[in-house]
Symmetry: C2
């Protein structure tokens, strides 16, 4: 890289992407980019990673996402599995009674029907270990002190130009600075994001009057549902509890609006005005007559805060300096979304950045980051408001509630579960979400994540979860549902569509880049008794592991019914495009026409 004529020697460097902030959004993005072959640096103001507290829960969709990076095993092994929600209501004699036990996640097609309780610090460590394998580590005790975006309009349109100039400084006594020239900058530096402010991005919304105390502890309790998610409405108020790794539990204890914990001068919650013991004492009152003591004096963490419900006006400046995670949105803890929304942001952004940087996609691809994720954040906050209101105001069994209100609460509980599982997220139509042929696979909703299903590997009869064939490896997946290849008509249609993809003008030929951009998988509706792997047309010289049957495995335990589940007629077939992030980008008829329209769609954003 060229050195510049500076009066003073200043360290100067160049990087594709500079990430500011090594929380969940930051390490998620850094890990995804470095594995996609992008040059990344990631800095964080803290001297060390956090060891306790902060965000604490991973929802079913987030588990699927982490699995797609090969990073879910440790979560499953170490985290608390949250399968159930228990609702408690007061009894006339001053006690508490469990009045409802229900599934924590009701999303019908989640691969995992539970959430995982695990502290943010441990989740970050999983990403750090994965980044480390590619030689990337967080540069700690490092903060940006200046961020400038140069370049004319055409420079901004060239992803290869270093339009961002960031000055980094070490925290502490030294005044050592470094000037980093970055093609892209990502601000994943939290609710009080320095990057967001430096970019002049505002955040819509307000601080609520919802004040919370939080304690992480090792409980000694006779509360029967302490290993479940609980909502306790007692006569003294409301609290909720979430199980965590290592037998820990987190207590969320609402504080009165006029609470003494608010500093009247600033209007902000002041930790000095409370203590773990005070929050715990409040919790004890709410959970009475159950005991809530601390085992082995183990209080891992505590805090107190006012919930802000805000969404950033924009998610980037010119798509060259972007923000993600809490820098974009904050909301109440009851939705259990903080870390999940942050990870979802970066998962959405990383492959787009990689495509643009590699010269595979047009800059306009990055526009979809904001359009997809900002809408989600707004929906989330709208939901959070409704839910918070109901949550605080109502009690399921209280005599003064009418039936309609009770019914609404239950409905909201279910909606809550579906919504916050992350499974139901649907991205709106855009250049990368094309629902024009939705009927070709009527249940694979374009814009939603792929529905999990077991298929049988045609070559060896092994049952394989389709999600495991859709890793976050930066590739689009073309799923060819060719019907029953033992049926002549079906095979003919498959041949037609396949030979169309082999033409030089097809998307596969034009944008495939020798397998770097597309992976192709076949799914026949035929049965293993009739079809062998050798019966599949070897059009692309594909590996034997990529041809599947929609059949039941010989033990009878797995598979079958995939075409029906997906709403694909086996005698018509379909082609399904899965985005690198696992979302359905397009479905199309299995025909020359379908291939042409898929090609037109990719023409819109690939190079």
């Amino acid at each position: 890289m060229a050195s510049h004529d500076n009066a003073k020697a200043v360290a100067e460097s160049y990087v594709d992407v500079l990430i500011v902030g090594a929380g969940p959004a930051g390490v998620m993005c850094a890990n995804a980019l470095v594995h996609a072959g992008v040059t990344v640096r990631i800095v964080d103001k803290r001297l060390e990673g956090i060891s306790a507290g902060q965000a604490d829960g991973l929802q079913p969709r987030t588990l699927e996402i982490l699995q797609s990076y090969g990073l879910a095993d440790q979560l499953f092994n170490e985290g608390a599995h949250v399968h159930r929600v228990a609702n408690y209501e007061p009894t006339p004699d001053g006690g508490l009674k469990r009045i409802r036990l229900s599934a924590a996640s009701t999303a019908p097609n989640a691969r995992w029907t539970f959430g995982v309780g695990m502290s943010q610090g441990r989740v970050e460590e999983i990403f750090l270990a994965s980044m480390q394998k590619k030689g990337l580590a967080v540069e700690r005790a490092t903060v940006p002190t200046s961020l400038k975006m140069s370049g004319q309009a055409d420079g901004l349109e060239d992803p290869g130009s270093y339009v961002n100039t960031v000055v980094l400084q070490k925290v502490g006594g030294h005044n050592a600075t470094e000037v980093v020239h970055a093609k892209f900058v990502l601000g994943s530096d939290g609710a009080h994001s320095w990057v967001r402010k430096a970019l002049g991005i505002g955040a819509e919304g307000t601080m609520t009057n919802s004040v919370w105390g939080v304690v992480d502890l090792l409980p000694d309790t006779d509360m029967p549902d302490i290993r479940n998610l609980t909502y306790v409405h007692s006569s003294e108020g409301t609290l909720f509890t979430i199980p965590r790794e290592r037998d820990l539990v987190r207590l969320y204890v609402p504080q009165a609006n006029d609470s003494e914990v608010i500093d009247p001068a600033t209007g902000r919650a002041d930790k000095n005005r409370s203590s773990a013991e005070k929050v715990l004492a409040q919790a004890r009152k709410l959970i009475y007559p159950y005991r809530m003591e601390v085992k082995d004096n183990q209080i891992d963490w505590w805090t107190i805060y006012i919930v802000g419900q805000r969404v950033a006006d924009r998610y980037s400046v010119h798509d060259r300096a972007l923000i993600a995670g809490d820098a974009c949105h904050t909301h109440s803890p009851k939705a259990g979304q903080g870390m999940n929304a942050a990870l979802g942001d970066s998962h959405n952004l990383a492959w787009k950045l990689a495509y643009v940087l590699k010269g595979w996609a047009k800059m306009l691809l990055l526009r979809t980051y904001e359009s997809e994720r900002q809408k989600f954040a707004r929906d989330l906050i709208e939901f959070d408001k409704q839910w918070s209101k109901l949550f605080m105001a109502n009690s399921l069994s209280s005599e003064d509630r009418d039936d309609a209100s009770k019914k609404l609460f239950i409905e909201m509980m279910n909606k809550f579960s579906g919504f916050t599982s992350g499974i139901g997220i649907r991205y709106s139509p855009s250049t990368i979400v094309n629902p024009q042929y939705q009927t070709s696979a009527s249940n694979l909703i374009v814009g939603e994540r792929m529905i999990p299903q077991m298929f049988i590997c045609a070559a060896d009869g092994r049952p394989v979860e389709i999600h495991d064939m859709l890793p976050a490896d930066s590739r689009f997946k073309l799923l060819v549902f060719g019907g029953d290849i033992a049926v002549p008509g079906d095979l003919e249609r498959l041949r037609e569509a396949t030979s169309a993809t082999e033409r030089p003008e097809s998307f596969l030929s034009r944008y495939g880049r020798a397998g770097a951009v597309f992976d192709v998988l076949y799914f026949s509706s035929g049965k293993q008794a009739n079809i062998t792997y050798a019966d599949f047309p070897q059009f692309y010289g594909t590996h034997w592991k990529k041809a599947f049957l929609d059949d039941v495995e010989l033990s009878g335990r797995f598979g079958g019914g995939g075409y029906e589940k997906y709403g694909i007629d086996p005698h018509v077939g379909a082609m399904v495009i899965i985005r690198p992030d696992g979302y359905v980008g397009m479905v199309a008829p299995l025909s020359l026409h379908g291939v042409e329209d898929i090609t037109t769609n990719f023409d819109g954003f690939l190079l």
Copy 2:
């Protein structure tokens, strides 16, 4: 340790167990012992671990065993999963036709309904890595040159005495020797076991006239079932193929009895009289009209050998020097048992050695190693003989076979699958296999391995496979099936049995050693809607993860029907003793009487 008056200074050392031979049986035993806290050394004559060839398949029960040591993940990730068996027969026009596709494992209650194809060397590496975590490595290029057992009868009865004196020597130029004094010696040094010979143990049986050529290769073939286990009866003869890791395939090609590969002088197979190319040429004839070429010139390994069907007369001398694996038994490859039987031997032996060495069990416990494993080996060879005869002589579709013979073949195929899955192994009644109350859990056959089943954790609603609660951690497991604790009568019976176990004279008090010998798990037949974790009697102050319900998980995907599957009447209940190796040792009524009889049983072999 005392040093001896030697004329010459000779290195001298002491160890609890000296293992000779680092094949599957040796590393399995070494790993189990070192994790149980026993001092072990393991030596092997080879300079390096093997990298290719040798044994190649792990059966469903072996997968369960490896899982119980926490060592199965790598197998599942790397190995070929063998779900299916395909039978081919000749067609009148000189071709081949698949006439049957069936499940590779038909054991109805296997946790995994497939085998794993993976080379012996990779399997050994898994154990080596696990041993390494405890600081144990194989001492290579080291052989015993002398083995003497001293000690009077009473010395032999004292597991603490170093009755074995072994001289070890480094292979190669040096003449350095070491004298090792070992309490126990294990010879896991293969079919031509030096230890077996040094102990003067004979091997019953004979060499067969069954001669095999074997090639491991990366195939380039249009054989449709190459990723399945195949038995190909062609007009030219018979061969079978087994898929392996890394897309490899092994071909087993029988050689004519009067084959030129036999050295007439010795009567043994002579590798110099054949070659990989020769065996491959034979295979090509048998598999015609399918092609069988080698991709990338990748022939990993090949060999040629005569099958010996032999079982050692004894498995030990005075239970102080023992043998395991191929040193005890050899048989044909078709049963796919070599590595599995070897691993099974050591799995059976290791916990018994640990108990005796720790002073927890009487020496007579070790007697059951031979009685259990020798009988298994004899059954295996008897089966192998029958099967080999049928396999070589018969063809399913040939015109000259009568229906009875065809039916027998199919029956044998099924028996084969059930038998060689390892799931059906039943150890005979002994001091550690007590079927006196079999009716208390009529389907949990005493002497067989525990039947897998999902139960629901009472505290958090998580579905848990019972096998995962029965790790190979050297502990017996007491499973208390207490019926529905919401039903007063059931709860009373549970209380009675539980208070009986709390008496000082009970097995739990007498032999429990503060949790080192017994782990206790509760299984209620009640439903999660009615029962919370807090309803379980906290008799033993057990952890919340150890109380279960026989119920369906809230998503409806897992669990339920466990009592029925196990043949336990919920209104009667049962206590089940699982041995440290996962086999059912005893079932008993849930009563004072039951506890007394379990105690009597443990009196028989624990100290």
